[in-house]
């Protein structure tokens, strides 16, 4: 093997990776925050409105879930500005795309979560005289969040991995940083030997933290 490992160049450019990791996490956080709002709103709309509304929501969900993320990324960044007089930078474009993307998955998660609330619990809430809005805020939401917490954790970690697609728009997240070092130093093995554990460890730390959170909030 005529390859000599040289990690020095990696450490020299390490900030690109660490800041890239930070950006990846930020992107995922913003996307899931917006996605939760979209998902909750649509889940509630879905069960309270008629067939037309439900049809549109289903179309949105099915479209996003069956089309590759990278196509959506290109579509939003390159395609939409040709239709509408909007200009945005790559990061904003990606955040919008990933938020809409996560929203579609979260609608399903919230719908399942709401359906999983035992009917008797709602009976008990009705029995003490709470109004529909009160039932929603004080019983349905808290119970549903505890039910869906594991799914939310998994979704967040998925989104964190999906931020790697942002690299195609030259958004300086972790994968872009890895590719930059790759192209500028040719230290492929080293850079991915460093970046792979970065993704793995971050993923496990998030998972561990979220599992702790789940145990705090266990239902029943």
């Amino acid at each position: 093997m005529l390859y000599h490992l040289n990690f020095g160049l990696i450490w020299k450019n390490f900030p690109k990776l660490t800041w890239g990791l930070v950006l990846s996490l930020e992107l995922a956080l913003v996307a899931i925050a917006i996605g939760v709002i979209i998902g909750l709103a649509l889940a509630l709309l879905y069960e309270s409105r008629g067939r037309l509304c439900r049809g549109f929501i289903t179309m949105y969900v099915e479209f996003i879930r069956n089309v590759p993320l990278i196509l959506l990324v290109y579509l939003v960044f390159y395609g939409i500005p040709t239709l509408v007089d909007l200009r945005y930078d790559a990061t904003t474009s990606f955040i919008v795309t990933l938020s809409v993307y996560s929203g579609a998955y979260l609608v399903e998660i919230f719908r399942t979560g709401l359906a999983a609330i035992p009917r008797g619990l709602m009976d008990a809430a009705k029995a003490i005289g709470l109004t529909p809005l009160q039932r929603l805020l004080y019983v349905r939401f808290p119970t549903m969040f505890r039910i869906v917490l594991p799914s939310l954790s998994n979704t967040f970690i998925s989104l964190f991995k999906d931020t790697s697609v942002a690299s195609v728009l030259a958004v300086p997240e972790l994968t872009y940083g890895a590719q930059w070092i790759n192209f500028n130093t040719f230290r492929i093995i080293e850079v991915y030997a460093v970046v792979t554990p970065m993704y793995l460890v971050t993923g496990y730390v998030i998972l561990g933290g979220l599992r702790l959170l789940e145990r705090q909030f266990k239902v029943r």
């Binding site: 035992p118 008797g120 619990l121 009976d123 008990a124 809430a125 009705k126 029995a127 003490i128 005289g129 709470l130 109004t131 529909p132 009160q134 004080y138 019983v139 808290p142 119970t143 505890r146 909030f217 266990k218 239902v219 029943r220």
Partner: protein
């Protein structure tokens, strides 16, 4: 919209019943579950409702606090029809908000407890007090603590339901319903899901409530309890009241054939023969 307590009097001149049910009918799809129920429950009375499964006992209770909307007939609490309004002569179903107000006047305890899992015992009781009755947090807390004391669970005020035994959860369920000071308390087979050794503590609480004058409608399989605590026993079979009367009369005379076969199937208590 406040529910006006009626000062109407019954035909015999006495105070009107808290709960007056007339001609109650309810079907689920093609299955007729309640086929014309007439029942009065007076203040301070404990009415036990017994009967075979599927006979409509639970549905009857759920019509009283309108968890089910009945099809025909009338259910009045203190003279006010709970399920429908009668504006300008046409009978219209009440809105959800309206129903919520009516439900605040009844209390229900469920077979499977259905405590709110994300709230402590005290918070379970406080939720209705704060959001429906409008008490402040401090006031609600003190009321909740008082009721927890009465059901013997002061030490568990800040425990989550998952940390409580079945019997303890059910006692919290009772406290949650009673703290709202309902006009009538509806108990739906509240000991059926409990381990035998936990049943006693729950029945003790109910007995005490009855002694203190709580108006109750109790669906139960605990015949000894029904006999001991009720003012009246009602036997429902196939959607109708087949037998009604004082406990002694119902259990000892056993005038009805179906009642006899039901009792022999259900009870292992030789004292009921």
């Amino acid at each position: 919209m406040p529910i006006s307590a009626s000062s109407a009097t019954a035909p015999d001149g006495g105070p009107a019943p808290v709960v007056r049910i007339r001609g109650l009918k309810k079907s689920f799809g093609t299955t007729v579950v309640l086929d014309g129920i007439d029942l009065d429950v007076h203040r301070g009375e404990v009415v036990s409702i017994i009967g075979p499964s599927g006979g409509g006992k639970t549905t009857l209770l759920r019509c009283v606090n309108v968890l089910e909307i009945y099809d025909e007939g009338s259910v009045q609490i203190d003279g006010v029809e709970v399920g429908f309004t009668d504006s300008s002569g046409t009978r219209r179903k009440r809105t959800e908000r309206d129903l919520a107000h009516h439900r605040a006047e009844t209390g229900m305890v469920f077979q499977l407890f259905y405590l709110f899992p994300h709230l402590t015992a005290a918070e379970n009781i406080m939720l209705g007090l704060r959001k429906v009755r409008g008490f402040s947090k401090a006031e609600a807390r003190s009321i909740a603590e008082r009721w927890l004391d009465r059901v013997g669970l002061t030490a568990k005020a800040d425990s989550l339901p998952s940390q409580l035994s079945g019997g303890q959860q059910q006692r919290v369920g009772i406290a949650r319903a009673v703290a709202m000071e309902p006009k009538v308390l509806l108990l739906d087979e509240i000991t059926s899901a409990l381990d035998p050794e936990l049943v006693g503590e729950v029945l003790a609480v109910v007995r005490k409530l009855a002694e203190d004058g709580m108006t109750m409608m109790v669906v139960t399989h605990e015949m000894a309890f029904a006999r001991e605590v009720s003012s009246r026993v009602v036997f429902i079979d196939a959607g109708r009241i087949a037998v009604e009367g004082k406990p002694k009369d119902v259990f000892q005379k056993q005038s009805n054939e179906r009642l006899r076969s039901f009792l022999s199937r259900v009870s292992h208590d030789p004292g009921l023969k």
